[in-house]
């Protein structure tokens, strides 16, 4: 039932069936010549290929800029590894690794302006890094110490959404507000391949198209939704979904940071110019487990992981830098040092995080006084006090 997804670089598409177009009939895939081709600027071997459409969008990305993208990816991978280690050591309750998705997140994240606004799922810690998040903040929720890590307005990024797909509507509504304000910023919704099955994501496309909202739907197709392969969610490549709603889409090699930067810039420019929404499918791979609680050996072929390791987003940018003479030992050392220092900061922040107070459970449910809850809080405080009293009195 589930078709195999096209692999980046393979150039093949799948899921096409039926004959050619006929009078009045639309066959899925039939009329989409080239639609499933991946935008790729750097191939898995680190070779930069020319592209008539996208080269000019990244014309400014010179050697130093490429190095910054590389650094970002190395640092984010290190942050991710450190958080995974913290979870294994019992310092975090859970962690959703982004291993393998660095290029998709950095490439898109670095395209954004400070006044754009991001609505993401739980896995976009690389994007949060680009937004300038305080490192400790990305751990608060996973340590169980807070209901959220940061003030969304401080970095113009909503705190992670756990309900799959729900944030796509928030981004669309936010973008409707941007139109209303006459601003030229853009809202970006990040979600996964699995999310595309949710009604919310499809309704978001309806609203975005209807109001021509400046929103980007950035779908990281990492091939898995926990144990479910992408073919169960989408019978044809995901990027084909959006045009049916009147939204242009593009399929990009999600492991190519430069291509991700280029397509996101294109979408941003369209949105800023009043051209409405864009859907980006970044084809990538979740190299780790779904979360640290997951055991992917139960459901996926180890060979698949190997295949994808050969398309590693960091390795290919390293190869490109090397070919450009930009990856000398000194530089490599300095990047590693930066990554290690960042990881150390992360760990410190994690361990130094203050414990919440019991009465914090009652805070911020409402912004105004609430007689029901205030009474419950009063009663609970009396209850807690009764222990203090009891232990003073030495009884029970």
């Amino acid at each position: 039932m589930a078709q195999d997804e096209a692999r980046p670089g393979s150039g093949s598409t799948s899921g096409d069936h039926g004959s050619g177009p006929a009078s009045g009939t639309v066959h899925p895939g039939a009329a989409h010549e080239g639609a499933d081709e991946l935008v790729q600027l750097i191939d898995p071997h680190g070779v930069r290929h020319a592209d008539v459409r996208y080269d000019e969008l990244v014309a400014d990305v010179d050697g130093p800029a490429l190095r910054r993208l590389y650094e970002d990816m190395v640092v984010v991978r290190r942050i991710d590894a450190e958080a995974t280690a913290l979870q294994r050591q019992g310092e975090l309750a859970l962690w959703p690794p982004l291993l393998g998705q660095e290029a998709a997140q950095i490439g898109s994240g670095r395209a954004l302006r400070a006044d754009d606004f991001v609505f993401s799922s739980y896995r976009e810690n690389g994007v949060a890094y680009c937004r300038g998040v305080d490192l400790t903040d990305i751990l608060r929720v996973w340590r169980g110490n807070a209901s959220s890590g940061w003030d969304p307005y401080s970095i113009n990024m909503a705190t992670p959404q756990v309900i799959i797909g729900a944030q796509s509507l928030h981004a669309t509504g936010y973008a409707m507000g941007i139109i209303h304000d006459g601003a030229d910023s853009v809202a970006v919704a990040y979600f996964g391949d699995g999310a595309t099955s949710q009604g919310d994501v499809n309704e978001a496309m309806v609203f975005a198209a209807s109001y021509q909202a400046p929103v980007i739907f950035f779908c990281q197709n990492n091939h898995w939704a926990i144990s479910e392969p992408v073919g169960l969610q989408a019978h044809v490549p995901i990027a084909r979904r959006a045009p049916g709603f009147g939204i242009p889409s593009v399929r990009v090699d999600g492991n190519d940071v430069l291509a991700c930067l280029a397509v996101t810039r294109e979408a941003l420019a369209r949105a800023r110019a009043g051209g409405g929404p864009t859907f980006i499918e970044a084809v990538t791979y979740r190299m780790g487990p779904h979360t640290t609680a997951d055991d992917p050996t139960r459901y996926r072929d180890p060979n698949e992981l190997e295949d994808w390791a050969a398309r590693d987003p960091l390795a290919r940018l390293a190869a490109l830098l090397d070919s450009l003479g930009l990856l000398d030992a000194d530089y490599a050392d300095s990047v590693k040092a930066k990554a290690d220092a960042t990881a150390a900061t992360l760990r410190e922040g994690c361990l130094a995080m203050p414990e919440p107070a019991p009465s914090d459970v009652f805070r911020h449910v409402y912004s105004e006084p609430n007689s029901w809850l205030d009474r419950q809080q009063d009663h609970y405080e009396r209850y807690l006090a009764s222990f203090a009293q009891a232990s003073q009195e030495g009884s029970r």
């Binding site: 959220s148 003030d151 973008a175 507000g177 309704e203």
Partner: protein, 340 residues
């Protein structure tokens, strides 16, 4: 003071809120040119523009989810759900987002969304057009829930709901839209949205109602007084949280409580009122609180809806019951007494 229908009063309140605050935007199905299927938003798109009165695609989750996004951006969306029975596709966005975002973001993001819901039965409509889903929302932490029973409150409370930084479900008794009443548009903002209101004073029985049944309760009180029974009628106005102090004060005087609502009995708001008042007034109660409510059934087809809906006679039967006067269950009570 002008006299206006219930529906007009909400319209006037919306207009005033939109005049006062450019961040107020209305969203919903058919609310623009048509003015809503009940015409509550009549004329507002014409006067404020299509960017402030949005006809939306036919998707309730989409409406609610984009309202959340607008609230993130600093807007105060007022969402119209066309009929009570069409709120469920938006349930996830209401329960997991609207209700929780302030808590989730530790107060950083406010959700000043007002969700207007024409609710309740009695208008002879087909399925899904006559429901009373309020208990789903009063059980949802993070929401405020109100219901209005007269034009003045409708006018005042819609403005208060919109002004509130917390999300508010605003339940409108659709079968009363055409009822007229005086509306003081210059009245200073009162505490209406938070406080219950004693509609009729009385000494024998406390009768609690809200929304469409407030006028039925008032009629019941008048009928009871013919029998020499003095019923105090309270209009809750706020359903979450409930102003239990007002109810408690009344029950301490009367010792008897009857609650009425259209929603199904089991797990309905009446259960919370009965339980809370029993907790607060146990030593004052002469009888267990009595609930006169809809049955535990899907809302029935219109030829039978007036069997399902509490009416004056059923309420009076409940009043008799709480007073241990002869009532429809007297025989059962007698049996039970024998068993003891």
């Amino acid at each position: 003071m002008p006299t206006m229908t219930f529906g007009r009063a909400i319209n006037a309140g919306l207009r005033r809120a939109m005049d006062d605050d450019p961040k107020v935007v209305l969203m919903g199905e058919d609310i623009g040119k048509l003015g809503g299927v009940f015409r509550i938003t009549d004329g507002l798109q014409k006067d404020f523009g299509a960017h402030r009165v949005l006809d939306t695609p036919l998707a309730e989750a989409g409406i609610m989810g984009t309202a959340v996004g607008l609230a993130y951006r600093g807007y105060r969306p007022v969402v119209e759900i066309q009929f009570d029975g069409f709120i469920y596709p938006a349930f996830d966005q209401i329960v997991c987002q609207v209700a929780k975002l302030h808590y989730r973001t530790q107060g950083a993001v406010k959700m000043p969304i007002t969700i207007r819901v024409p609710f309740g039965g009695g208008i002879g409509s087909p399925e899904h057009h006559s429901e009373s889903p309020e208990a789903y929302f009063t059980h949802t932490s993070g929401l405020r829930v109100v219901s209005v029973s007269n034009p003045q409150d409708a006018y005042t409370m819609i403005q208060q709901a919109i002004a509130s930084d917390d999300p508010v479900l605003y339940f409108e008794p659709k079968r009363r839209y055409h009822v007229k009443g005086e509306v003081d548009e210059a009245a200073p903002p009162s505490s209406a949205m938070g406080d219950a209101r004693v509609v009729v004073e009385g000494t024998d029985v406390t009768l609690v109602a809200y929304g469409p049944l407030v006028s039925t309760a008032r009629d019941a009180a008048i009928a009871a007084s013919d029998d020499g029974i003095s019923v105090e009628v309270i209009d809750l106005r706020s359903l979450a949280p409930i102003d239990f102090r007002t109810v408690e004060a009344s029950v301490r005087r009367t010792g008897r409580l009857v609650i009425t609502h259209e929603a199904a009995q089991s797990g309905g708001l009446g259960a919370e009122i009965a339980a809370s008042i029993t907790e607060r007034c146990f030593d004052y109660l002469e009888h267990a609180p009595v609930r006169v409510t809809g049955f535990d059934i899907p809302y029935p087809y219109s030829k039978l809806e007036f069997h399902h809906l509490p009416d004056l006679d059923r309420i009076l039967d409940g009043v008799d019951r709480v007073l241990r006067r002869p009532n429809s269950l007297s025989a059962l009570d007698a049996d039970a007494a024998v068993q003891r």
